[in-house]
Symmetry: C2
Subunit: 368 residues, 2 copies
């Protein structure tokens, strides 16, 4: 599997006329090495691949583990006086052009690389992972399954007096009780808090205090599961007490917007046409605007895998196309300040003949 | 508090002869804004500070929250066609020299900045947070306190048949049950696994299977707590069954190495001399080497606060000095492949007269 992935990189290098690549993105390093224990933001490891070499560069804390678990890459241990520059010096004569990950490499790292290589070019390795293989899909599906169970479970816990934080905590415990992890801190928003798409889950208590009455209090739950490094992500919006007609209307518009995007994708598949993420987003977005509500303040969806958000991005600003084997979210929302918000998010895999939804929680309007 | 922190930045700018600064490090953004809900690796926010302006730059998902919670910075909402470049254009005439965080800013972000500014200079804002104020110290102490309770609790759970993962899980639940979070995934290493300083907590089971017998099985526990965004970090190594004389010897050497570093720091305080992190590290490291064991494959310690690892770094490669108000770890270790490892880690705050240890779990050799 890793040989296949490394081969894919080497083919891309050929296509881009690059002799070697220096990878710094932590998820790409996990993808190519199979090792997932590096910190995501502490620059603990790199991969350096060339015509006749493949190194994983890290420090002494990881050496023993890397030797055991990553036999397909040669370990270069830096630290204790040994710097990555030694490797650059050793191989630079063979490397006329080097690929880097511009969106990830820092200015300081770039400075060191520039000392050794003249022709440095950005290489878009972030889409390296956008088409998932069978094993990856299985892991994401398993994460989704646990997410569905968690949603069922949490509905029973939504009672007067409970706080957003407590609900997030209960979700977390449930997920961990299923031998998984959370893929990100759950967003739990009660009432008006739901109008902030990324509300910071807080101390707001469920009950009349947080609304004008018991009726129609919005509860937005956005959470995900990580199973063997692979993430899920889903959002459901439910109502505590009978929703007002405006709340119901908003809910149905959001649900219909999601359906419009799905229909667009399925019809393109049938027609054998290109599926532009830009158009998928526009389909849902325009429907919401047409109904008199504000444009979605985020993109319609995102790829998911080793990271919660990764390519492809389903966005009006994106020029990407959806392809077979991609796994992504579709998550329209309507948010109104001082009123509240509704978002519905599911994950899908693009199959041969149709889009398959892999989060399976009900989308019927739930009243608690 | 935020005004004081912003003032500190502006003073540094003056000292460095910079007119403005563009900050991208997520922890620095939390430190200066008080808002902690941004993703750490998705480049969701920036702070742009100049002679007569202070912006927080983010997208529509966060606008409402930022308006409410960050009144001391002006919100610039990007997205929907609005780019940060608009801000650059508006203010560039006043800015002859701009500071950036080279260790954090990506090559792509730098490219955009270079279009607008000519004189761009690295500014070491990572030590912005190294001296903690009273409130920060209180939060770290509270995190340490919960960590101490967690250690006491976990000792009772170390029984034959339990796995590393389960122990990590139980620690996590205990910490979360105390309304805190883990500051990083706990490292739990049984037996020989402990020879990897950053062992990936796995399925190894406690009991005779994972060692030659029940005697002297090493259990290394490295974990931390996050309380109101502030982290703690500690490591204890305990023994399951009577340790061998070699295991005992190693344990005592590591403990003594920690004490040597503490003594060095305290004696420098008494003498009113500079406390060099380099010398603190060397004191502990040389002691271990003198005793015939391998040099520590990591640095002796690290600052801690909003991040688990931050400045100051207590390392032979560091030129930093320890100053009053700094909070950091001292964590010597000895690791022997196919045998095991011992690490002892505590957190300290540098007070006026002496070093104060703020993790308070016993360091007596524990046999379970």
């Amino acid at each position: 599997m890793f040989y296949k992935r490394l081969k894919h990189i080497k083919e891309t290098l050929k296509k881009e006329k690059l002799d070697a690549v220096f990878l710094s993105n932590a998820s790409n390093i996990t993808y190519l090495s199979g090792y997932s224990n590096f910190s995501k933001d502490e620059r603990e490891a790199y991969i350096f691949l060339g015509p006749d070499f493949g190194y994983i560069i890290t420090d002494g804390r990881y050496s023993e583990a890397i030797k055991k678990e990553v036999p397909h890459l040669k370990l270069f241990e830096r630290g204790g006086g040994k710097s990555t520059e030694e490797l650059f010096k050793k191989h630079k004569s063979k490397i006329k052009s080097l690929g880097i990950e511009e969106d990830n490499l820092t200015v300081s790292e770039h400075k060191v690389i520039k000392k050794h290589f003249k022709n440095i070019k950005h290489i878009g390795f972030s889409n390296l992972r956008s088409i998932k293989d069978k094993e990856e899909v299985e892991k994401i599906k398993k994460a989704c399954e646990i997410g569905d169970l968690a949603f069922k479970y949490i509905l029973k816990k939504l009672k007067v007096g409970v706080s957003e934080k407590e609900i997030a905590q209960i979700l977390k415990r449930f997920i961990e009780g299923n031998n998984a992890e959370i893929s990100f801190p759950a967003i739990v928003a009660f009432g008006k808090n739901s109008s902030v798409p990324h509300h910071q889950t807080g101390k707001t208590i469920l009950g009349p205090e947080s609304s004008s009455g018991r009726e129609g209090l919005i509860i937005l739950l956005d959470f995900g599961v990580k199973w063997e490094n692979y993430c899920s992500d889903m959002t459901r919006t439910v109502f505590f007490g009978e929703p007002s007609s405006k709340q119901k209307e908003i809910y149905n518009i959001v649900l219909e917007a999601q359906k419009k995007a799905i229909d667009y994708i399925n019809s393109q598949i049938k027609l054998g046409k290109k599926i532009k993420t830009e158009d998928a987003d526009k389909t849902a977005r325009d429907y919401i605007i047409k109904k008199g509500y504000p444009s979605i303040p985020h993109s319609l969806g995102h790829g998911i895998g080793l990271e919660v958000h990764e390519q492809p991005y389903i966005s009006i600003k994106s020029k990407e196309e959806l392809k077979k084997g991609m796994v992504f979210s579709i998550e329209p929302g309507i948010y109104i300040e001082n009123f509240g918000g509704v978002r519905i998010e599911d994950l899908y895999i693009l199959g041969k003949d149709r889009l398959e939804q892999i989060t399976n929680s009900s989308k019927e309007l739930v009243i608690i």
